[in-house]
Chain length 212, copies 2
């Protein structure tokens, strides 16, 4: 299964995928190409350093989302991508993109969805005063962080947490959860039924929780 | 600290408090009285079996909430109650009640609030397709399950869960979380600051998570 990763920033989740792949821990998933919308973002640099092909589609070159979407689709298709992973990709994708990869676009979000969707999820969690938050891997639909949840991991909020310290602890869980989800999808153990995700065989979420 | 517990149904969370109290695990908290709104509910029977004083205020005897609230307050005050624990109490309490015990009424809810407030929290979680849910102890405010969160515990959703099996697994966590929260409040380690709860000393949530 050819996996394309889209990044906009630091690319630490991309790095987690690269590292797991090198250890042979992504199963039949193969990182094939990394794309981005920001030319000089560290994520693209990480991909190059790992010897992966990269492409950049600058959203500022497009007056409408549809054109940007189609350019991304075209770049991914040229690499025969089966699964698209959004790893800190900060652009909302429209129907032109999602329709081209039906049920084959996933995202990692730093909260236990449906709680704290959208931006600044960690700050939202702190302001809500929750004691447990976490991260979620989900299929991407037309909404913002509303698609079917594939796997989640829980993270304890500490009394002295600020946005930075909480984000760092959640990020460590993201780095465990996202590769596990990509592997399970590549193993064809992830099925969408009525907008709920069934994971066949070993539970991704349970695996990650047990190893906490 | 004198604790009054209000029940409407099975009273298994009450039983957990009784059992912990017998083992001396509630710290300075002392179960003082158990009240209910349903004469023959098992919760009241459990209290009697444990030798606790009980009272029942039948909400059907009151045409308005205020009268029902005041009757509950009067019964609790006659036992010098410092902390009111709603343990499966199925009536919404109004200002006449909450104003009488400011920041001294807590509730246990079978979800990781703010997700899945209101009734059928477990069914809501299953329908949303989340992989992790849990339970929350929170201070009660004028909203439904909207008050400041004191402690939470996480529960894995299994692929084959139905409402009953998931509810049972969450309930087991409720039985651990609620006594731990009552003890911490009685130890005066729980402080509300700007609608967020600070737990001084050992984290209740962390304690419960670590012992999973």
């Amino acid at each position: 299964m050819n996996v394309g990763v889209l990044v906009s920033g630091r690319g630490t989740n991309l790095q987690a995928l690269i590292d797991r792949g090198r250890k042979g821990e992504l199963g039949p998933a193969r990182l094939t190409v990394v794309g981005g919308n920001v030319l000089d973002c560290p994520g693209i640099a990480r991909a190059r350093a790992a010897g992966l092909p990269t492409f950049v589609v600058d959203h500022r070159d497009y007056s409408a989302r549809a054109g940007f979407d189609r350019a991304l689709v075209s770049a991914l298709r040229s690499h025969q991508i089966d699964l698209v992973v959004l790893a800190g990709f900060m652009r909302v994708l429209g129907e032109d993109f999602l329709g081209s990869f039906p049920d084959r676009v996933i995202n990692i979000h730093p909260a236990l969805l449906p709680a704290f969707g959208g931006v600044h999820a960690q700050r939202q969690a702190l302001e809500a005063g929750v004691k447990i938050t976490g991260c979620s891997v989900h299929f991407v639909d037309a909404g913002v962080d509303t698609g079917p949840v594939i796997a989640q991991s829980a993270v304890l909020v500490h009394e002295d947490d600020d946005e930075e310290s909480l984000s760092a602890r959640i990020l460590a869980e993201e780095h465990r959860l996202l590769p596990a989800a990509v592997r399970a999808i590549a193993e064809r153990r992830v099925v969408i039924e009525n907008r709920r995700v069934r994971v066949l065989g070993e539970s991704i979420t349970g695996d990650v929780l047990r190893s906490l």
